[in-house]
Amino acid sequence: MTTWLLASLVIPVLGAAVAAGVGPSGHRNARWVALVAATLTLVVAAVVVFSAPAAPVPRITQEGAPPSEPFVSWQRQWFGSPQGPVDIRLALGLDGLSLWLYGLSALLVFVAVLISWEEITHRPGTYYAMLLLLETGLLGVFAARDVLLFYVFFEFTLLPLFFLIGIWGHEQRRYAAVKFFLYTLAGSVLTFLGLLAIVLLASQKHPQGVLSFYLPTVQQVLQQDPLPRALQWWLFLALFAGFAIKVPLWPFHTWLPLAHVEAPTAGSVLLAGVLLKVGSYGFVRFCLPLLPQGTVDWMPAIWWLSLVGIIYAALVALVQWDIKRMIAYSSVSHLGFCMLGVFALNRVGLQGGVLQMINHGLSTAGLFAVVGMIYRRYHTRHMAELGGVARQLPLLAVVLMILVFSSIGLPGLNGFAGEFLILAGAFNRGWTAPAGHSATLLLVAVLATSGVVLGAWYMLSMVRQVLFGPVPPAHENLSQKTAFSDLRWYELAAVVPLLVFVLWIGLQPGFFLSRMQGDLFPMADRAAVAYYQTHAPAQVKTGARSLQKDSPLAEVAPVGESPKTQN
């Protein structure tokens, strides 16, 4: 498996080199090179991903247990050695958290190549090279197990996307590209400082004083001897700066609609599908395990920001006339749900949040892809200028309909599974919270549920205007043009895999969840214990640490999900 993992990172780079080298003789060669490279990568990544075992659900998490080993990993020393003084490794590996995000990245680049098939005619070689470089960056971000390596990949994803937006984008591409680049860079510099500080502080607690960037080492050190509470608060703030912009949490979202609208279709697909997840992934990967106390202290704030994001972005989406802009705002709303789930700090919510990252990646990427197809045919994204698309392009209409319902959270499709788990997690956090918090948290959970109504509202309004109703006069004669047809083979090839997963996750979420739980549950349990230790009444606190040691407690306490029964 290790070889395959490495291969998935190298193939896109090689493909990029070839694609860039095939010369300007036309986009035909470059796109084929890109397709071959992306397909190969996808196959290789699929082999890796589907070899993941369905982990047995851990009933309890032993305190001080080392972080679980990923099912596939590879590492070489980069600088220094494990004995010190500096320990930086080229460490790659996949666990339950990164597994599906890694697979999603490989899938969406494949989709992105097919989406660009006819759209990109300007310097295609460079374009596809950028796409493939971006793929390596994305796969690397999710596979990295070393803090420095993670950051390198994290920043590396910025560059290709900057060029994709800046060169192949629409009218305002320069402004959008620069804004996207500077805004995210500004945030991620703070994140980097935060990560550096964590590593430095961890080295002081390391038995041999090694300055280790290797994440499992850092995690183990900090689990045994957590950082002081005030420090964790500040460090969380630093990490928050970069990740919250990336997610994007309200009010750090304004770069997103702009970047989406100006980006070429493939750019939007990857941006919405994967790049946003780097932010929420960062929260789960670094904040929860390394800064449990900071996470708990920041949790109410994040709940409120998520809630505002869910409703605010849904409302803004309701009055957009540009379909792409509307979907961009719906992303902000959906990512609010993801964050709410993650910061429910319990098993149900966390896995719901992570699953929803995948779901959003599939459905929103699909939506952007379909909007790109509509734009290519009608040369407008203005809802009022469109209409009756279902009559002219029935197949495309079916695809759009399924994706819309996935996004709304229709049972049987993927969105529902994630949404339901997130709400279950959030409500559960509310029910089980100590008296002082319970009411507030429940209020947030109830208000967040209203996102379900707003989501249906703006999505179905879009569907009504675009798909149904009469065909506007400007488009009545389009069907006679030769270039105008329902989905082409490459467009079908792009959306069918998305639909397969939309249905698969919807009908059998257990398959996906059971491959995440082994690693997510311990994380959730630790966070839950930290929450409980902070907020429980004084007489309980003393017992809480020992509560984690045994499992039959599950039968004592009422509902299966409260932290003390979990651990």
Partner: protein, 823 residues
């Protein structure tokens, strides 16, 4: 559990659910290729629903053969109830004997139910959502009713939708940009595809064994309804109505999700039934046994789990305490467990018990909220009349007989878990709805809208019945209503098919030309108005009797009785107004009248069948005693026979046995009042519309304000538009501008500030001091660059190659170096 023929029921009904799904899949993939214009798709769909129907009736047969007709239960129950009543009066004297004899102290009858899980969707560690079944007699009866009516409507649709069997269909209600009618391809197979999917979802909803699965199918029927309302996608009004239906339903679902979460938070399960192990012992109790445990005689009981969930902190303190004393070992846990159990009783009396009760109320209200949406109850009733934009068979099946009744079904299903306070809310909502909708139906002129408001009103009746404790009454009316209302809708469809208009003001005198339609519709009108010996008569009687009984038990709550009686009068009035305007009198529009013709046999044969049933479905089979009531009585939830119970928050609120309302005195009163009310409504309709002794216009003028109110449907659409839709859009516009100007402005502003600062720093610091140093550096770089100039070709492609090759080379080098230093 010994093996009986009942063990086959899950499989039978499971296949009954799957059969329409199979036909759906076939039509989706091969529909357009099935014969000319997809003609055979209709037959494929009929095959699916026919299978389901046959299987359902086999299931019903098995049930009857094993469990009997239940006739004895019904009479036994009545006997018991009256006995109970007299026993109450005499209990002073015959204490011991009456203890034995009263229904309220007799051991509760537990209905036969089958519960099991086929497949668990969710992995361990999350709320269990399984594909499970919960079968009792109610399930079986609902299956038979839904699949039978659906079958008839499928057949009817063959005729009604025949005009879709063409290469070009002219849609008279949709216009292209130049004002011409829209011409499009026929969509015959598309219609049957949705119909099959709907049947699958509806049957699945009835079969589902846990609330979460119910919710899943709940959403699926919603989507089918969305597609069927918007079937004529070219019509703007149809699309708006479809969106309205879905979004309004979502508002109800919002409440339902909150309810589900409260249920899970307090009980930790969604399952209706108990999970048993091999030996038949209860492993995990379901919702019903938790709220009405057998050891408490199936009386309402706040479950220990809910109390402990409410006493979260106290439980934690106890556990922590024991762990501190004994250390973390199983002995400590054992001790903690027993102490928690021991203390639960005292918590139950304290604030924790009250909070646990509130959890049950929230769960109940939340679930009812979903039912309000789906069954179009006030204040979410506004979507159903608009939903009439769909083809008429859809209105008959989805928007009158089955889907909208799903809300009532769920209230009936969840009945044992509703606490009295929740039931009171159900009753209030039902009463408001039945009155409101009936009044609107008086002035409506669109034949389908009259029926739509009548549906809303009848659903209100059912909710009122359930809410006043009339479990049997409500569900009985659900079944009878399904028959006569689908009949009425299909008749109206036949009329519309002939007239090409929905407007009753352009009809009149159609009886001569459409005898089958006319007379069957008359049967439907008589049934819904509650004419003696028609099915509606019996079920409405039950409801009114129940409201009388409720008023007796809870003084001051006679309002339900008045509402139901007035509603009965209005119902008779608007139904006969409809029939007289359509079929009697002189044709008001000659043009329409000329083209009128009786519908084809595929359409009128189902009408006749339904008409027969609309009369007789409530009758009992002579000799055997088999009737819908006796069947339903078999499924009466354990513990509700003696009445739901008394309220905790509203201590005066009491629900006594439903059988009490079957006593002679109450029954006679109900029958008399209901019949007189219906007669009054009928006579008024005769006076105004059949005989024309009083002019309708004159009445409208006399009572202008009331007429305006009703004509505008109490201004609900306008109200919601003004209170919800417009403000939301307005706020959304504001927020969008805020987003652009303020939030984005701050970002751009800070970027500009940085630029300005840099320029200043450049002037002040750089040039003065740093420049000299930098210039020196620049010279070096310049010289270096001169040498590198040969590489520089100005072609970006080449640069990228350099970058890539460089990256790869670096990567390889570093890897080698790293492995060398590691090894």
């Amino acid at each position: 559990m010994t093996g009986t023929a009942l063990d086959y029921l899950p499989v039978l009904l499971g296949w009954a659910v799957l059969a329409p799904l199979i036909s759906f899949a076939l039509v989706v993939f091969f529909g357009p290729k099935m014969g000319r214009h997809g003609r055979l798709a209709g037959y494929v769909s009929i095959g699916g629903i026919l299978t389901a129907c046959v299987l359902s009736f086999i299931a019903l047969g098995i049930w009857l053969s094993v469990e009997g007709t239940g006739a004895d239960l019904l009479h036994h129950g009545q006997h018991d109830a009256s006995h109970a009543e007299s026993a109450h009066a005499e209990s002073e004297h015959h204490g011991a004997e009456s203890q034995h004899g009263t229904a309220e102290h007799a051991p509760a009858r537990v209905p036969r139910t089958l519960f099991g899980t086929w497949y668990v969707l969710s992995p361990p560690g999350v709320p269990e959502i399984g594909i499970s079944y919960y079968i009792d007699c109610l399930t079986v009866v609902m299956f038979a009713m839904v699949s039978f009516i659906a079958l008839l409507i499928h057949i009817y649709s063959l005729g009604y939708m025949a005009e879709e069997l063409a290469d070009e269909v002219v849609d008279h209600e949709a216009h292209t940009s130049d004002g011409a009618h829209v011409r499009r391809r026929g969509r015959f197979h598309r219609f049957f595809q949705y119909l099959s999917l709907f049947c699958f979802s509806m049957l699945g909803l009835v079969l589902s064994g846990n609330v979460a699965m119910t919710f899943v199918f709940w959403e699926l029927v919603g989507v089918c309804s969305y597609f069927l309302i918007g079937f004529y996608i070219e019509r703007r009004s149809a699309n708006l109505a479809a969106n309205k239906a879905f979004i309004v339903n979502r508002v109800g679902d919002f409440g339902m999700i909150v309810g589900l979460m409260a249920l899970w938070g307090s009980l930790g399960t969604f399952n209706y039934g108990d999970t048993l192990d091999e030996q038949g012992h209860v492993v995990r109790p379901g919702v019903f046994s938790l709220i009405r445990p057998a050891e408490h005689g199936h009386r309402l009981w706040v479950p220990d789990k809910a109390v402990q969930a409410a006493a979260e902190e106290e439980v934690a303190a106890v556990v922590a305490d024991h762990l501190r004393v004994h250390g973390p070992n199983s002995q400590a846990l054992q001790a903690a467990r027993s102490e928690v159990q021991a203390r639960t009783a005292s918590w139950r009396q304290g604030p924790q018990g009250r909070m646990a009760y509130w959890l049950l109320i929230i769960a109940g209200l939340g679930i009812f909220c979903g039912c309000v949406g789906k069954s179009a109850q006030f204040p979410l009733h506004v979507w159903l009349p608009d939903a009439m934009e769909g083809p008429t068979p859809v209105s008959a099946l989805v928007h009158s007989a089955t889907m909208v009744a799903a809300g009532v079904y769920l209230v009936g299903r969840f009945f044992p878990a509703f606490v009295p306070e929740v039931l009171l809310v159900v009753a209030v909502i039902g009463a408001i709805t039945l009155f409101l909708a009936a009044t609107i139906a008086i002035t409506a002129v669109d034949i389908k809208r009259v029926l739509a408001y009548s549906t809303v009103s009848q659903l209100g009746y059912m909710m009122l019945a359930l809410g006043t404790g009339g479990w049997l009454a409500g569900l009985f009316h659900l079944i009878t209503h399904a028959f006569f209302k689908s009949l009425l809708f299909m008749c109206s469809g036949s009329v519309i098919h002939a007239c090409h208009t929905n407007d009753m003001r352009r009809m009149g005198g159609l009886l001569k030309k459409m005898p089958y339609t006319g007379y069957t519709m008359l049967v439907g009108c008589l049934a819904i108005a509650g004419a003696p010996f028609f099915s509606g008569f019996y079920s409405k009687d039950y409801i009114i009797a129940q409201t009388i009984q409720f008023g007796l038990d809870n003084p001051g709550w006679n309002i339900f009785y008045y509402a139901a009686t007035v509603g009965a009068a209005i119902t008779a009035f608007y139904m006969f107004r409809l029939w007289f305007m359509t079929f009697l009198g002189k044709p008001r529009d000659e043009h329409v009248y000329e083209h009128v013709h009786e519908s084809p046999p595929t359409m009128w044969v189902p009408l006749v069948i339904l008409a027969v049933l609309a009369v007789s479905v409530a009758w009992s089979v002579p000799g055997v005693g088999l009737s819908i009531e006796s069947l339903l009585e078999q499924a009466r939830p354990a513990g509700t026979e003696q009445g739901v119970g008394t309220g905790t928050l509203l201590a005066d609120l009491t629900y006594r046995s439903e059988h009490l309302s079957h006593q002679e005195a109450i029954h006679a009163q109900a029958t008399t009042v209901a019949t007189l009310a219906a007669l009054a409504g009928f006579l008024l309709a005769v006076v105004i519309y059949a005989k024309g002794w009083v002019s309708a216009e004159e009445v409208a003028r006399q009572f202008r304000p009331i007429y305006q109110l009703l004509w505008h449907k109490w201004w609900f659409d306008e109200l919601y538009q003004a209170v919800f839709v417009r403000p939301v859009h307005f706020v959304a516009q504001l927020i969008a501008r805020f987003d652009r100007v303020v939030i984005d402005g701050i970002i751009d502003g800070s970027a500009r500030a940085v630029t300005a600062f840099s320029a200043w720093a450049d002037r002040v610091i750089d040039r003065a001091s740093v420049d000299g140093f930098v210039n020196l550096l620049a010279d070096w770089v310049y010289n270096l660059a001169l040498r590198l100039r040969t590489v520089q070709t100005g072609r970006l492609r080449q640069y990228v190659v350099f970058i890539v090759v460089g990256t790869v080379a670096l990567f390889v080098l570093v890897s080698f170096w790293a492995s060398a230093s590691a090894g």
